[in-house]
């Protein structure tokens, strides 16, 4: 079939916008005008005042005139020819939406985008937000987390108040780095389930477990661990973890379409979360600088790390004999996400 000049006419249905009655018209282009020919009349629309709808699959395309009225065109090929003649080209989005290879590329790109967002954008965004989080929010999150932990995981401390005060004083003697932002407060608890451990809440509360305090005779080693925990707080690690998990939860909720499951509770996240290797390294460095600032050796933290690992390995061995081994294993997993302890100790204390 050859394309003769008469093929430059395209059939369309014209609606005037005032009544629902459609009229069959033939469309053609003359210089910069769109012409609508019908049996009774001829309409002339300046092309620049005509909005041409983009292609959407095989749906009819609409030519809408700013002065009122529109044409519905079902003949895609004919309209393309007409538009080619008029020098109107397709947009990039138009091409994207109608090519199978782009659809496949889009699928791959979506996966890449998700991965990149999860790996890079999320931690960055969480850090930016966490560092600007107002104190009230940190306080609320700290106290609600402690409440939950006290209810489910922690027991009162067995240390007498004199011993508690001794450790508090030792920590108070540790001068904070000049750029310190928060007030610190140590509280004492015990937890056979969690073993030797200490953890920092977002508001600057550091929970020191008896099991850790009993691990060493040297209080400055405990102070070294507390300095490490202070690094976690100053760098807002807990807050960042909460924000990251919430963002993931939000995405999932959006995808599944259920908004009621929004904002998983912070206590659960803090309890389950393991800091990333980068976060541990950051806290180690912070502790190292604090120790040096106070004229203390970072090797104190290194030796404490060794003791902690030994204690947890022993606990895990014991746990292995118990029936509910899996459960205990999870609870005593404190060191699993820490970079290999020896590596960390070596970086803190190269001389050893």
């Amino acid at each position: 079939m050859s394309i003769s000049p008469s093929d430059d006419r395209v059939a369309a249905t014209y609606y005037d916008g005032r009544t629902a009655a459609g009229r069959v018209v033939m469309l053609s282009v003359s210089s910069s005008d769109l012409l609508l020919h019908s049996e009774t009349e001829e309409l002339r629309w300046p092309l620049r005042e005509v909005h041409i709808s983009e292609r959407l699959g095989s749906t009819p395309r609409l030519l809408t005139y700013a002065g009122g009225g529109h044409c519905e065109v079902g003949d895609h090929a004919g309209l393309e020819r007409l538009l080619d003649h008029a020098g109107i080209s397709k947009g990039w989005l138009d091409k994207l939406q109608h090519s199978l290879s782009w659809a496949l590329a889009a699928m791959v790109l979506i996966v890449v985008a998700f991965f990149a967002a999860y790996r890079y954008l999320l931690p960055w965004g969480a850090e930016v937000l966490a560092m600007r989080m107002p104190g009230v929010v940190l306080q609320q999150m700290g106290s609600s987390t402690l409440e939950t932990l006290d209810k489910f995981a922690l027991q009162p401390s067995r240390l007498d108040s004199a011993r508690q005060q001794e450790l508090r004083d030792a920590f108070a003697r540790l001068k904070p780095l000049p750029d310190v932002q928060l007030q610190y407060n140590i509280i004492f608890r015990s937890s056979p389930g969690m073993g030797a451990n200490a953890f920092a809440l977002p508001d600057g509360t550091i929970v020191l477990l008896d099991e850790l305090a009993e691990l060493t005779q040297d209080d400055s080693e405990i102070v070294a661990v507390l300095a490490h925990e202070r690094g976690h707080v100053e760098r807002r690690h807990a807050m960042r973890m909460v924000l990251q998990s919430s963002a993931v939860g939000l995405m999932l909720a959006w995808y599944v379409g259920d908004v009621s499951s929004l904002l998983a509770t912070a206590p659960a996240i803090i309890m389950q979360a393991k800091y990333s290797r980068d976060m541990e390294r950051e806290a180690d460095e912070y502790a190292e600088r604090t120790m040096q600032f106070n004229g203390l050796s970072p090797c104190l933290l290194a030796s404490m790390l060794d003791k902690l690992e030994a204690a947890h390995l022993a606990a895990r061995k014991d746990a292995g004999k118990l029936a509910d081994a899996g459960k205990r294993d999870e609870m005593t997993d404190y060191l699993s996400s820490h970079p290999a302890t020896q590596e960390r100790a070596a970086s803190l204390c190269p001389a050893k």
Binding site: T13, R18, T19, A20, G22, G57, E72, A113
Partner: protein, 338 residues
Amino acid sequence: MQEQFAQNKQHFEFTGKGWEYFRIWIVNLLLTILTLGIYSAWAKVRRLQYFYRNTRLAGASFDYHGTPIAILKGRFIAFGLLLLYNVTLKFNPILGLAIGLLLALVMPWLLMRSLRFKLYNSSYRGLRFGFAGQTRGAYRAFLLYPLIAALTAYLLAPLAHQRIKQYQFDNSRFGNAAFKFNGTVKGFYLIYLSAFAVLVGAVLLAFALARMASPQDMAGSIVIGVLIVGVALLVVSGLFSAYMQNLVWGNTVLGEHRFFSQVSARRLLWVRVSNFAGIMLTLGLFTPFAAIRMLRLQLESMGVESSGDMSGFIADQQQQATAAGEETAEMFDVDISF
């Protein structure tokens, strides 16, 4: 007589195709992700335009005219409100509840705006739809009646549902012709009661099985009981959607044109279950196909019976003259579905 009726019976046609929509959908999804959600407003316009333009009645298609910027504004507002509510609820429950209450208070107004936006931006044969519902009616339909339903232990829920549909349809128009909703409260009660009866039957059956089972088989009979109730819920949800669509559209009139709807509950249930399975098995890639299948079923079982001509409508003069409807409708859109 019968013949003449049949001649004027026009079915909706839906010409959307899964593969075609898949390409639009996947590009929409990619651009939405790359723009951190901003593009979703443009994506919505494209999606609705694809659906509307593929919906045909008496040889002409529908069209959607919403502007992405208006939709984006509405999304920002909705997202901001939701975030405010969730964050305050987390850190100050009392303030959070107060904000939640405030949200509930503005919800009817937002719903009214959303209806106005949706209808004003829909057209058929070059004529716009419109929504003339007022704030008073919105509060009655979307707040007062649901509240009454809740206070009566949902005994009056079917009544509330009927009132909401009445408010929606009786305030809608096409060109200068008004929609009229004739669905009776009785009709709503019949659907709710039969759904309730099937569920109660399923629960009783599950209990009866559990009682007959010997103590050793307790675990097994509990599993079977849960399965029975689960299947009953699924079946009831399919029946409910189908009968509700048939009731609502079967009792809607536009001028001298009467709508009809005969969607089969069995087919609706099948499409729903197979769609769910497809989406799960393809990690979501089946979503666009699922949307097309459901729309085809729902639309093609509907139509219009008319004694007059479908092209007999004329534009609403008032709407044309003031154009105020356009301005207020264009301000923002709120995505709230019913």
